[in-house]
């Protein structure tokens, strides 16, 4: 058989030389580069408690939507993925569509937060955040937009406090935690989470990042940085890369008890879809969710496989269920160019039809 390797030695030498040259020039660009800022869309603090903060965003004009939208992010990583940079900001795009946007920044847990449970997060913090927004607008119910683990929290919250949620949107939210392609779930199910939390207390962010990197070790730890060499001479692209890098690794530790419960009940027990989940001693029945639900998921999501999200349709009690598949990954759904064009307008139109 003829060799499929048709690499011209001279060209290969040239490639290496080019790589070296780009790297040498680029390293000088990297040196002294400032930490890239997030988008920092204008906002005001409307509620705070312990380490969490609820921010209200200010758009150019007055919101046309009468019902505010509260974004509930995951406890892993930070909520600023939704407002990463001016031209890649879901928050900005929602404001431009006319939505009145709030979000919860959970903050960075430390030893004082070691014993926070899911009950504390969902029936405590989240409920008080929702109340704060409801009171500001003198409304019985507001719209919730839950992202990833925050989506799972929003589902639990809506099932437990249905009177306070008008419309529910979930984005890249795991519902069935045991689909065959869910690598995280597969790994979690082999470990002793009690031993893990009892030993570590809060779960260090570095350890969480390590696990995420090992989901695709070569792509995320090597190939990505080889691609970086090609943009080292482009300050704008380099800044975008570094901003994303900052977001990926600027992540909070996980409060130990909440982590223990989340792994046990959601990943190991898959109780959300089995109907056996309890938060604070109260059963969580997804069938209690009778308000309109929009479920947005990413078709190439390696953290939350599409089937894990799609399962929601089978379990919610609402007759008004909409599913939106986005062509992209877990992060691209917020920051890609297509996401900017497709996702916020779809959310706004869906909400407007139910205002």
């Amino acid at each position: 058989m003829q060799t499929p390797l048709r690499i011209d030695p001279a060209k290969a030498l040239g490639d290496i030389a080019t790589f070296q040259r780009k790297l040498a020039a680029g390293m000088n660009n990297l040196r002294g580069m400032r930490e890239p800022e997030y988008a920092n869309t204008p906002r005001e603090l409307v509620y705070s408690e312990d380490k969490l903060k609820v921010w209200h965003f200010k758009g150019h004009g007055k919101p046309t939507s009468k019902t505010p939208l509260l974004i509930v992010y995951a406890l892993v990583n930070t909520v600023w993925m939704t407002d990463l940079q001016a031209d890649r900001s879901m928050v900005r795009n929602l404001l431009e569509q006319g939505e009145d946007v709030y979000l919860i920044d959970w903050g960075y847990p430390d030893g004082a937060d070691r014993w926070l449970t899911l009950d504390d997060y969902i029936n405590g913090y989240l409920d008080r955040c929702v109340d704060a927004v409801r009171q500001r607008h003198d409304l019985d119910a507001i719209n919730l937009l839950g992202i990833c683990q925050g989506g799972a929290f929003s589902l639990c919250y809506t099932a437990l406090h249905p009177e306070k949620v008008k419309n529910l949107i979930t984005m890249v939210t795991p519902v069935d935690f045991q689909t065959p392609d869910n690598m995280l779930s597969h790994w979690c199910r082999g470990m002793d989470v009690d031993l893990f939390v009892d030993t570590l207390g809060n779960i260090p962010a570095g350890l969480m990042n390590y696990v995420y990197l090992t989901l695709k070790p070569l792509r995320l730890n090597q190939q990505k940085y080889i691609g970086l060499v090609d943009i080292l001479d482009n300050p704008a692209e380099l800044e975008n890369f570094l901003r994303m890098e900052r977001w990926i690794f600027d992540s909070p530790d996980q409060a130990g008890e909440a982590f223990r419960q989340f792994i046990k009940d959601f990943y190991q027990g898959n109780k959300l879809v089995k109907g056996t989940l309890e938060i604070g001693g109260r059963p969580v029945d997804l069938g209690m969710i009778t308000q309109p639900v929009l479920n947005v998921f990413a078709e190439q999501d390696h953290l939350v496989p599409p089937d894990a999200s799609r399962a929601l349709g089978k379990h919610v009690g609402t007759t008004d269920y909409t599913q939106l598949a986005f062509r992209g990954g877990h992060i691209g759904i917020y920051v890609s160019g297509r996401a900017q064009r497709e996702v916020p307008p779809a959310i706004h139109q869906w909400l407007r039809a139910r205002s």
Binding site: L5, I7, D8, R114, P217, N221
Partner: protein, 349 residues
């Protein structure tokens, strides 16, 4: 006889290696303070990760070129095997990079620990050559050291099993790469294209192994065994702290647990208190409504009762009303009568 092409490649490789080392030196932190504790990661994390990833790629490119990949003949499969299966191959470097960047290097921590024990005059870890009964005043300490040595050994074995699976993923990745290259019409014309194809193949092989039952079991055992080591280390550290009169992790954690329980109780009390007040207001409303009905039945003609109903009772008043319902009922009746004798305010509800 010397091969000029081969010499040139060797010279080029040396030069390239030197220039790489020169760049990386630029970004090294200043000379380490010999008295400072070792750091898991120093300086700019992004740069370290970048350099780590790039180094693997750079080494691989050089190796590929030196291995005459370009002129690969019918034995190209063999050459691929050599390119991607060596000790310095990029798969291992990718994993090594992740470990140093984020996992806080369990192994390194243990080595530090063992070194500290040796420096402390303990020699080899007791029990590292098998369990031995402990005696005398230091019996507990001896047993703890043995338990720690046993746990470390178990963790190292579990980690070795994990590494075997990683190596298997690498080997299977090369096989998948060979299969991809053997597809009809497939042509690879640059090192970068070959590398990208290898990444696809390796991730495919890794994903299949990572989703296997064997991997789940090995991965779980690796984590659990590392946690056991940490727990035993914590136990010993706590004992040292107690001897020095310092607060321990367990004590702080216990305080945190109690504090959080107390906060829950306070909040629950507040909520229950609020609910209690609401019940009381409801009871008062019912009482007022009953009085109105009673009044309407006893007084002929239209009665303006709204002003009375509109006066919200403060919690203190409401409590007083509840305490003495008969006296309050009499006063309310009087108030209604008084109001009835006046014209009702027009705009008040």
């Amino acid at each position: 006889m010397a091969d000029p092409a081969s010499d040139f490649l060797k010279d080029y490789q040396t030069l390239a290696q030197q220039s790489w080392e020169a760049w990386t030196r630029q970004f090294q932190p200043p000379a380490a303070n010999p008295f400072a504790p070792p750091q898991a990661s120093a300086g700019n994390d992004t740069l370290e990760r970048t350099l780590s990833g790039l180094k693997g790629y750079f080494d691989w490119m050089q190796g590929a070129l030196a291995g005459n990949t370009a002129s690969a003949g019918p034995d190209w499969r063999q050459q691929l095997q050599q390119m991607f299966d060596g000790a310095g191959q990029p798969f291992v470097q990718a994993f090594g990079g992740i470990d140093s960047a984020g996992a806080e290097g369990f192994m390194r921590q243990w080595q530090d620990w063992i070194q500290a024990v040796r420096n402390g005059g303990f020699g080899d870890l007791p029990g590292s050559h098998g369990p031995t009964p402990g005696f005398g005043l230091d019996r507990e300490k001896q047993m703890q050291q043995q338990a720690l040595a046993g746990a470390m050994l178990a963790a190292m074995q579990a980690t070795a099993r994990y590494q075997e699976l990683i190596q298997r993923a690498n080997a299977e990745g090369v096989q998948i790469l060979q299969a991809k290259l053997a597809e009809p019409g497939r042509k690879v014309e640059s090192l970068k294209a070959l590398y990208d194809l290898w990444v696809d193949a390796s991730e495919e092989a890794y994903a299949a192994i990572a989703l296997s039952d064997e991997f789940r079991q090995v991965y779980g055992e690796m984590i659990d065994s590392q946690m056991r080591v940490r727990q035993l280390q914590q136990q010993q550290t706590e004992e040292w702290c107690r001897q020095l009169g310092m607060p321990t992790r367990s004590e702080v954690s216990s305080l945190g647990e109690r504090l959080q329980a107390l906060r829950r109780e306070v909040r629950a009390g507040g909520v229950a208190g609020g609910a209690g007040q609401a019940d009381e207001v409801q009871a008062l409303r019912r009482e007022v409504a009953a009085l109105k009905r009673q009044l309407a039945a006893s007084v002929p003609g239209p009665v303006a009762t709204k002003p009375v109903a509109a006066k919200p009772a403060t919690p203190r008043k409401a409590a007083a009303k509840k305490a003495a319902p008969a006296r309050k009922a009499a006063k309310a009746t009087k108030a209604v009568k008084t109001t009835a004798s006046r014209p009702a305010p027009r705009k008040r509800k």
